[in-house]
Amino acid sequence: MAGPMKMRATLAGGNTDVRVLMSHPMATEQQTKGKPHFIQNLTVKVNGKTVIEGEISQAVSRNPVFSFRLKGGAKGDKIEVSWLDNKGDTNKTETAVA
């Protein structure tokens, strides 16, 4: 089961700053004797439209924290971040720009 996620999206200097936290072991090959467990894909959507797609590796630290920046934006814009790991587990979180 995927642990909690948390996200904050705030207007700053004409842009929207997005900070997202996700619970995940991000276990490396070394730590797991060849059975790594890590998030591979990240997607950031604004009002349903994909704006950032990330591919990440086992070298991202445990309990990943990412900051992104979106051009413009307005209060109430709906931001959605989702992830998919190498075992097929997924999670997502949504927030409105504050």
């Binding site: 948390k6 619970s23 309990n63 924290v65």
Partner: protein, 263 residues
């Protein structure tokens, strides 16, 4: 009100010891603070706080942490303190254990079976500490020092801090006793000095980047005694509370800035 907080924060900044400002790791520490997953632990802690558990199948929501049953705002900043219902001084973790036993009807043995977790599975105490401490963010630390037992606890903590014993003749002060010392590359804060203790004690509990774990102050005490080659302190014991009381009183007045991030 805001001004009061900002005022004391500025004051705190002015007394940050020279070694902390000059640390080669200052940039690293600032950047890891800004990008730590601390809030995840607060979220899980909130769930646990509200979750009915134990033989009585009730939550901890009525737990009295010193400000009245269920009052979380500012409760952590007021600990440790004397609790008349048990006639002793308690810190956050000890009081949480007390609430698990009294409100939820759990045994001490069951509730302390696993007080310190690991990266894959943090403990209930760690999650709960994150949540409760987070409700005191920005508030000055004001541990109780008016009751005679609060003073006695402080004095015992002070004695423990300097007490050398064990296979390798160590006290807390063996490592945390002189300015500008290191173990390997780790800088060693002299925690009996208020200027040093303030910023550090005001940031426990914390996420430790070295092992990606969220840790409590009783864990910190426990792990120091392990490395001092001493036997293991009992969780929630008077000795543990006394050390936390000694350190918190030494840091009193500092605005609480946790849960935070440590190396």
């Amino acid at each position: 009100m805001m001004r009061a907080i900002i005022g004391s924060a500025a004051l705190a900044l002015a007394v940050v010891p020279a070694w902390a400002q000059q640390s080669p790791f200052a940039d690293y520490q600032r950047m890891t603070r800004e990008s730590a997953p601390v809030e995840l632990f607060e979220l899980s802690g909130e769930e646990l706080w509200k979750k009915p558990q134990g033989p009585k199948n009730v939550s901890l929501e009525k737990c009295d942490l010193g400000q009245g049953p269920g009052v979380l705002r500012g409760a952590y900043a007021g600990l440790p303190r004397y609790f008349a219902d048990v006639d002793r001084v308690m810190d956050l973790e000890t009081r949480l254990l007390h609430c698990m036993m009294t409100l939820q009807g759990r045994s001490r043995e069951e509730a302390t079976k696993r007080v310190f977790g690991n990266a894959d599975s943090p403990s209930e105490m760690e999650y709960l500490s994150a949540y409760v401490a987070g409700q005191s963010h920005g508030m000055p630390l004001r541990p109780g020092m008016s009751h005679s037992k609060e003073k006695a606890s402080f004095e015992l903590g002070q004695k423990l801090y300097f007490h050398r014993a064990g296979a390798w003749d160590f006290s807390c002060a063996s490592c945390h006793g002189e300015d500008d010392k290191r173990i390997r590359m780790s800088e060693l804060p002299v925690l009996y000095k208020p200027a040093v203790a303030r910023p550090l004690i005001a940031t426990w509990p914390a996420y430790r980047v070295s092992n990606s774990q969220f840790k409590t102050i009783q864990w910190r005490m426990n792990d120091c005694y392990r490395q001092m080659r001493m036997p293991e302190p009992v969780f929630g014991s008077e000795a543990m509370v006394a050390l936390v009381q000694f350190l918190t009183v030494t840091a009193q007045g500092e605005p609480y800035r946790g849960p935070s991030v440590k190396r």
